[in-house]
Structures are given as structure tokens and as C-alpha cells.
């Protein structure tokens, strides 16, 4: 897989956003800088890259991808290449964006809507909720709901009536808000993971009874769940995973990043001859020295990490534990 940035702009102000810091430099707000949107020729190059890499799904990200002024054309070009489409969006889509997605059969497109995105940085406003609901109603089964956990007291119950009323997929993709490397965004601290794990298990019981599937994005860890939490999650059929690996976020400047939280710490050039697998191998190699550590100091002796069941949490969160060595000894 590979995530392609098609827009560095976003019109939301989610407090937990870990992409904004990296993309601010590409936003095109400064005169003389390149456009904050991918041009179509470059987009075709991206499609070639996916073909070369034998990837038949195109994952569009931003900023907010639907803000691209030629978004419908982007979609058409992807469809023409036979790609299945996955879009990460805040869900407040324009009419033209909605129309371009509506015409696609549900099996060819998934619109992952971030349900706690907001302009104010607080809870979504009534207007935002209404607009988002409209997207869900129009796109129905093409929509999967997403939720980013950035504080310990979060609520997921509001998703249930939405799934019922709008006909969107009965599944939720859950993400933990991870820190950008300078930690300026709001994120869930690893110390808060256990209480979040318990809360997720509580919700899983309710969700499972209603046939709602829970998927876990990267950064979750095995030890955030007690045995009883895991039992409840498994009973609800949750797709638990304890991943961290190069996502392959490809920005507007032909850089392939490990992921946005890590920013430019681990990145490589998107050479036209390389495949996604080769790029991933390069980035894994760069990150390798840091992989021994995890988000907790105990990760280095943890059997789950040693046997590969758990990656030790988000590498960006783990790297925030590191400090620059400031040693100076005068003999």
C-alpha cells in the first residue's frame, strides 16, 4: 500500500493532526512556492508507480484530498487505471466531490470519514455534523467511519445511530492520535493507553452485539489490553493489530516518508524506477536502529515484542523518548 498526498491544504483544525506540521511547508501559502495540489501529470506518474508496484488500490490523502480543484478528474483517472479507491477525508465534501464518488460502485471505492474532524479544534459543530451526515447519506455503503482517539475520555456511541440511519458500512476504523516529532499536536500519551484499552473493550461489547466491526490502525500495543479486554474484543470480532511499519506516505515533492508523524526523519526520494516494496525496505532500514526501543522502557524485554506479535507501539512515540546526547567531559 502507499498513501498519496494530492492536497497539502485542509480546511479543518483537528488538534491531533500529525500531518499539518509536515505539510505546512507544502501548503503553497508562501508566494513562489509550488501549488499545494498535485498536478495531473505528477498524478499520472503516481499511478505508474502503483502499477510498477503491483498495487491495485490507490489511497488518497492530504491535508483534505477532496479540496483538490480537479478532484473529480483525479478520481476518473484512477478509475481508468483500474484502481480501487480509498479516500481519507473529513467528510465535508463539496457537491462535485460527492457526485464523482457517488457514481462508483461501492466495491470500487471506500470513503474513510474522520468523524471527529472539526474546524474549531473542539467537538464538531452542528453544521459540520449535518454536512458530514449528508455525505454519509449520499455515499451510503461506500463510507467507513473513522475515529481518532486523542484523549482518554472519548465516546463512540454516537456512531451507532449514524450507521443505522445512513446505511454506511457497519465498521469503524480506530486510530490513536500519535505525536508529530516535535509533539505540537494533541496526542494520546502511552500512559493513557490502558484506560483507552478498557474503554474500547467496553464499547466492543455493545458494538459486537450490533454486528459492528472495529478495525485498529497502527500504533496499538498488546499490553494496553488486559486478558479480559482482549476476550471481549475478540468476541466482538474486532480486527486487533499491533502494527507499526512504513506506511509509505508520498508527498507532493516526490518524497516517500515512513509516515507523517515521523516527518522527514525517515524519508527517501521517490525514484521512478523503484517500487513501493523497495522504498519500504529502504525506510525500514533507516528506522531499524530505533526499532529496538518501544513506547515503554519495558518494550525491550517484552516477550510480545520479541516474538513479533507487537511492534512496541508507534515509532514516532518511541522516538520522542530519545534525547540528544549533551555530554561534555573535560579531562
Amino acid at each position: 500500500m502507499a498513501n498519496l498526498v494530492i492536497s497539502a491544504r485542509c480546511n479543518m483544525a483537528c488538534p491531533y493532526c500529525f500531518a499539518s506540521e509536515y505539510l505546512d511547508g507544502q501548503s503553497g501559502n508562501i508566494p513562489g512556492h509550488a501549488s499545494p495540489y498535485i498536478d495531473l501529470e505528477t498524478f499520472e506518474d503516481r499511478l505508474d508507480f502503483l502499477d510498477r508496484s503491483n498495487i491495485d488500490e490507490i489511497r488518497l490523502i492530504g491535508g483534505e484530498p477532496s479540496l483538490h480543484p480537479r478532484f473529480p478528474e483525479i478520481i476518473q483517472r484512477a478509475v481508468k487505471r483500474g484502481k480501487r479507491i480509498l479516500i481519507f477525508t473529513h467528510g465535508l465534501l463539496t457537491e462535485s466531490a460527492l457526485t464523482s464518488l457517488e457514481v462508483l460502485p461501492p466495491e470500487r471505492v471506500t470513503v474513510l470519514v474522520n468523524m471527529n474532524a472539526s474546524r474549531s479544534g473542539d467537538e464538531p459543530s452542528q453544521k459540520e455534523e449535518t454536512h458530514r451526515r449528508k455525505t454519509l447519506l449520499r455515499l451510503g455503503g461506500r463510507v467507513q467511519l473513522g475515529f481518532t482517539i486523542f484523549q482518554p475520555d472519548f465516546e463512540l456511541d454516537f456512531l451507532i445511530p449514524l450507521m443505522v440511519e445512513t446505511g454506511c458500512q457497519k465498521s469503524v476504523r480506530l486510530g490513536i492520535a500519535q505525536p508529530s516529532l516535535n509533539g505540537r499536536n494533541r496526542y494520546l500519551h502511552p500512559k493513557q493507553y490502558i484506560s483507552v484499552g478498557r474503554r474500547l473493550a467496553d464499547w466492543a461489547e455493545r458494538a459486537g452485539r450490533l454486528g459492528i466491526w472495529m478495525g485498529f490502525d497502527c500504533g496499538f500495543v498488546r499490553c494496553m489490553f488486559s486478558e479480559s479486554d482482549l476476550e471481549r474484543l475478540n468476541k466482538a470480532g474486532a480486527g486487533i493489530a499491533y502494527r507499526c511499519n512504513p506506511i509509505l506516505d508520498i508527498d507532493l515533492k516526490d518524497k516517500a516518508l515512513h509516515c507523517f508523524p515521523l516527518g522527514d526523519k525517515f524519508q527517501t526520494d521517490l525514484k521512478l524506477t523503484l517500487t513501493a516494496g523497495e522504498l519500504r525496505a529502504i525506510l525500514e532500514d533507516k528506522a531499524k536502529p530505533y526499532r529496538r526501543a518501544g513506547i515503554y522502557k519495558e518494550c525491550t524485554i517484552c516477550s510480545y515484542k520479541q516474538n513479533g506479535e507487537c511492534m512496541g507501539g508507534c515509532l514516532a512515540a518511541a522516538i520522542r523518548r530519545f534525547q540528544l546526547a549533551k555530554i561534555n567531559i573535560n579531562i
Binding site: 536502529p289 526501543a293 522502557k297 525491550t300 530519545f322 540528544l324 549533551k326 561534555n328 573535560n330 579531562i331
Partner: protein
Amino acid sequence: MKNRIYFCPAGVEWVKNTDGILVINRNQSQSYLLMGLESAVWSWMSLSYTYPRLVGMLSELEGISRQEAGQKLKRLLEAWRVIDILEVRETSHG
């Protein structure tokens, strides 16, 4: 009289874990695990302990004389210099 100043070059990062101190030289993509005595000395060095103070602590830690502790410390610093997690510069003094 020459002073030797051992310092960390740019790009050296470290973190304390349960099994020891992980030191990474980012420029060389190399990592090293410091355990036991090495971990203790690195930890004290990160607190900006002066050389005499380090020698005193090491002497007590190992139950050896200050002279022996000084020699041991110098060997350790040199070993770290060899693997590029420390650099050294010499200055004239007096």
C-alpha cells in the same frame, strides 16, 4: 598542558530502557546497548558530572582507588570514541 574534552557529536541520541541505555548514532545508522557500568557512567555523564566527580562515583561504585577509577573511565571514554558515540578534541591549557 593539554586538556582532552570528550563530547557527543551531533546526531547521537539515546534512551534508557529496562535492559540498558540504547545509544544511536543517527549519521551512521548504528545502535549500541550500554549495560551495567557503561550505563551508569553514561547516565552520570548526562547529568553533566565533572571528571573528578565521575571518578569519585566510579571509585565508590567499583570499590577501587581513585587512580584505578580514573584509568577505567578513560578507557571507557576511548572505547566510546572508537565507536563514534563520542568525539574528542584537545585544547591547550595554561
